[in-house]
């Protein structure tokens, strides 16, 4: 294996399995190569990793802190625990916190069935939310001709911000405010449809893990009937007269 200067090959143990990796790889990279599942939410390969959602926290022997696998580089002799009672409990709590934060009504969400948050909850056994829902009043922005931003479903993973800044180069999205009051915004917090910098590429929609950003025309109520494709109907009506 050839490596870049300064990069070393190291062996480490992940979930009791001996693994090999390069010192410029993260624990998550190596785990995935070996088919070891570590749950993630904010991370998307190809975008910068930020270690924010805390789903991929793992235990590393010798460190008293839990480390995010998506940004922690592997080291020779590392011993990584991915699944422990504590880690699993924390991940479930993290998911519960996310569900409690905004209004995630899966049954009427356009992304129902294709949502990372929903499927992780199922996978990790979250079948109810033990803490009270915060029920914030948040807006839906349908001003863009092709897309919708429904902040009820946003988990502030910032994938949209990163793909827009790092890949599309438009930097239309960013975060405003802080804490639970933070929101993703376009330009100077103007409606998306009025954005001067948005190129309409739709990358943000594709990377959104939930139903926060979606294409129009997907929701049940948006099934437009396009009867102009049936011109004979009016012809028949004329005939029937």
């Amino acid at each position: 294996m050839s490596t870049a200067p300064g990069v070393e090959i190291c062996t480490l143990i992940i979930e009791n399995r001996e693994c090999g990796g390069r010192s410029d790889q993260t624990i998550l990279d190596v785990a995935e190569e070996y088919g070891i599942f570590i749950p993630t939410l904010c991370r998307l390969p190809g975008l910068s990793s930020i270690g924010a959602c805390r789903m991929c926290l793992v235990e590393v022997k010798g460190s008293n802190k839990l480390l995010p696998a998506c940004v922690t580089k592997v080291q020779e002799g590392m011993e990584v625990t991915v699944n422990s009672e504590r880690l699993e409990a924390y991940r479930r709590t993290t998911l519960e916190l996310l569900f409690s934060e905004r209004n995630h009504i899966c049954s009427v969400c356009v992304t129902n069935g294709h949502c990372d948050l929903q499927s992780l909850a199922q996978k990790l056994g979250v079948n109810h939310i033990t803490m009270p829902y915060l029920h914030p009043h948040v807006e839906v922005d349908a001003s863009h001709p092709r897309f919708i931003a429904d902040h009820n479903r946003c988990i502030l993973c910032t994938r949209c911000i990163r793909v827009c800044a790092e890949i599309e180069g438009a930097h239309t999205w960013d975060l405003m405010g802080r804490g639970t009051k933070a929101r993703v915004i376009t330009d100077l917090n103007r409606p998306w449809g009025e954005s001067e910098s948005c190129t309409g590429c739709g990358k943000c929609v594709q990377v959104c893990p939930t139903g926060a950003l979606s294409e129009k025309g997907q929701a049940a109520g948006e099934m437009m009937k396009r009867r102009q494709f049936l011109p004979y109907l009016s012809m028949m009506r004329e005939v029937g007269k």
């Binding site: 009504i105 909850a121 199922q122 056994g125 079948n127 033990t130 009043h137 948040v138």
Partner: protein, 182 residues
């Protein structure tokens, strides 16, 4: 076999604030209902005639969220009188669609419905209908719940599995077969 001697389980189903879709899904277990009929005694349900929630219920299966004072009263009584409480469907488990009104202050909601949008009789009803709570609650925010069956509605298979397992005295493991919004 001493099967005939086994007493039938006393089962109740309840419909709180929800669309009754979960009950429809329950009926969708079709011919398997006959299998269940051998094992259970349906002591209370929108499907039977009992008016008051009975005592000494083995399994109470509750659909819908807690939205008004009557729901509140009922769910406490149900919990008191039942050994196992099953939270059936997303409304019972998460609040789901009924809870979407919680983001608005109750009074503004009532004004909107019974005043601004009303053409006749502009008045918030106070008689016959129970008072709405400030917030819509999933069941477990009010009483302890034993089994959660998310889904909108949970499929007939899921419901059948849940009931069958309970009748066998096991805690149903449903994560593989259902989820929020399923």
């Amino acid at each position: 076999m001493t099967k005939a001697k086994t007493p039938k389980a006393r089962v109740a189903t309840v419909w709180l604030d929800g669309c009754s879709g979960c009950h429809m899904s329950l009926l969708d277990i079709d011919e398997r209902l006959i299998l269940l009929a051998d094992k259970i005694d349906l002591v209370y349900s929108p499907l039977v005639d009992a008016k008051d929630f009975p005592e000494n219920v083995d399994v109470a299966i509750v659909e819908g969220a807690v939205s008004n004072t009557e729901d509140l009263h009922k769910i406490k009584l149900i919990r008191k009188n039942s050994r196992v409480l099953v939270s059936l469907g997303d409304c019972a488990v998460t609040g789901n669609i009924p809870s979407m009104r919680t983001v608005f202050p109750l009074q503004s909601l009532l004004d909107r419905v019974y005043d601004e949008n009303a053409t006749i009789n502009k008045k918030v009803p106070t008689k016959v209908v129970p008072k709405l709570l400030e917030q819509v609650h999933p069941l477990h925010e009010i009483v302890p719940v034993d089994v959660y069956v998310p889904g909108c509605p949970p499929s007939a298979d899921t419901i059948f599995l849940a009931i069958s397992e309970l009748l066998e005295g096991r805690v149903p493991q449903l994560n593989e077969v259902t989820r929020f919004g399923a």
